[in-house]
Symmetry: C3
Subunit: 127 residues, 3 copies
């Protein structure tokens, strides 16, 4: 399962990168902790980070369950789409939140397909 | 471990459902991204989603560790209580946040019991 | 892998503890749900809880991947540093958010090292 581990760790590195950008935005736009609101640009970076957190709690278990029941190469392929989709999401959201749709879809569709596929696989194996 | 996979994926589907409701509330109550405050009803949906995220990071590892050290059928049973508790939480919180106690308890008690049980099981196996 | 399970569960218990403090702060400072802003002290507790959530989604997969590819004793050691770092973070942040640096570094450095080490290990095993 090296492939799924590599995809998992790359997703974590992407998430860490978004977090570092939040830290940078905190300084640049002078949003003092514990505040997370008050500056539109900071809030965009913050939302990119937290939306990715929401997605990771779905993506990571789905990746491994799908890899186990359906196949690790398919899972890794969906994983790469997720990684690219998240990057597009992060870039476009900061430029203009209204332009985030493509990045959202490219990252949620792989996750949703893996959730459904893994559920079907697990149910079939159970009976 | 098909049973625990099925419970895991159902918990993710429940979380996705809460997330979709946040998206719907964003449109309905005209809360434009990146804002997450300013409308009480939107904030209720948003908190249901994020509180469930907080719970999942506890529930998922606890479910698998408890299933491994204590037994998968007990884990799956606690998992079903969690799934129902979260649904009650989501429905009651949106109606009136003050009425959320039952849903909170029904979802944290299974998680807390599994954390304690799994810790006891792992410690006993270690020595 | 009892050791990694024990570290995982202790990290969850630490996170649960931070969450209970948020609940207490909600009552003490009269921040009524669904609000999460409006009182500086409440916001400090809230940020400690959520920053720990951000860290756990990195720490937990990194701990297990590093434990698998590099060694469980090294992983458990880094895990203990993380657990202590988080505790320092939680205590110092609530006293004064500007003093949080030591706790931040002591909890992110073990995670980052484990992400990099696990990635190197998985890549080497893959080829």
């Amino acid at each position: 399962m090296e492939l799924l581990t590599i995809v998992t760790l790359l997703a974590l590195i992407e998430f860490i990168y978004f977090g570092i950008r939040v830290g940078g935005a905190r300084g640049k736009y002078e949003v003092t902790a514990p505040a997370t609101t008050g500056n539109e640009m900071f809030e965009r970076h913050y939302r990119v980070h937290y939306n990715t957190l929401e997605q990771l709690i779905i993506f990571l278990p789905a990746l491994w369950a799908f890899g186990y029941y359906i196949g690790q190469y398919w899972a890794a392929g969906f994983g790469v789409v997720f990684l690219i989709g998240r990057l597009i999401y992060g870039v476009t959201y900061v430029k203009d939140p209204a332009s985030r749709s493509a990045g959202v879809l490219l990252s949620i569709i792989p996750s949703y397909l893996m959730v459904i596929g893994a559920l079907a696989g697990a149910v079939v194996h159970f009976f």
